[in-house]
Amino acid sequence: MRRTLPILILGLLGAVGTYCLAYFAGTFSSRALLHSPQPELAWLQHEFKLTGQDLARITELHAGYLPRCMERCARIDELNTLLAAALHADMPVPAEIDSLLRERADMRVLCQSEMIDHFLQVSRTMPPDQGRRYLAWVWDNTSLRERPMDHSFRDATAIHTPGPMD
């Protein structure tokens, strides 16, 4: 008893110690990502194995792209407000609504087109295989790939056409 109890206490303390050690060693890279100046770009570097030079170039592209993107978003918000006002007017003018819808759609096309340009520029900055991986990733994880349309409502309310057996 005099020998076994200290061994077991040592084992328990060791277990706590090794837990902390394994946890802190294992989370070192993720904590470093979180504490970097631009965590999302640090993630990009980590995920696509980029060099410091690649990252510097991508950071530059990112910084150039964001203000243009925000400008377009602001314009789309503005058009949404105008569209709402036009729809809620006492006498809605279809031509005006049509024009606003077209302008908003054009702005969206421009926005998505710039987004794709940005993705292509970023992918070209990366090593070729990582660039391909990056494009596959943005296709899967951004709005480029639109969600499939939901046809369940249409199917559920389909008009029943009586057949010859009815």
Binding site: M1, L8, G11, L21, S29, L33, S143
Partner: protein, 114 residues
């Protein structure tokens, strides 16, 4: 009464008292009651022992050999490493997924999350 007479009487009384060996009868079922008292004391002792003492007794019973204690300590160490590693992996996965979403949202204003 003279002092010498009193001394003689004391001596006689002392002799008498030392020779007196009374053996009063024991109360009925005395032996049985003594054993019952001992049993009660032992039961009370068993119940009032502290948790720590019970633990010590359990450890003494189950880890009588130091080899077994070392094996158990090694298992505890391995468990600590395993749990730490597992939780670190979970944390890393969560952080990575969160940063991926943050990147996607930073470049894609149309992104709507489910």
């Amino acid at each position: 009464m003279k002092a010498s007479d009193q001394e003689s009487d004391d001596r006689k009384l002392k002799v008498l008292l030392s020779a007196w060996n009374p053996s009063p009868p024991l109360p009925p079922r005395f032996r049985e009651r003594v054993w019952q008292g001992i049993a009660r004391f032992e039961a009370h002792d068993r119940d009032t022992r502290t948790f720590l003492m019970k633990c010590r007794a359990w450890i003494a019973n189950h880890f009588a050999r130091p080899g077994l204690a070392w094996a158990c300590a090694s298992l505890l160490l391995a468990f600590g490493i395993g749990l730490g590693w597992f939780q670190a992996r979970q944390h890393t996965t969560t952080v990575t997924a969160e940063l991926a979403v943050r990147y996607a949202r930073s470049v894609d204003p149309y992104l709507t999350l489910p």
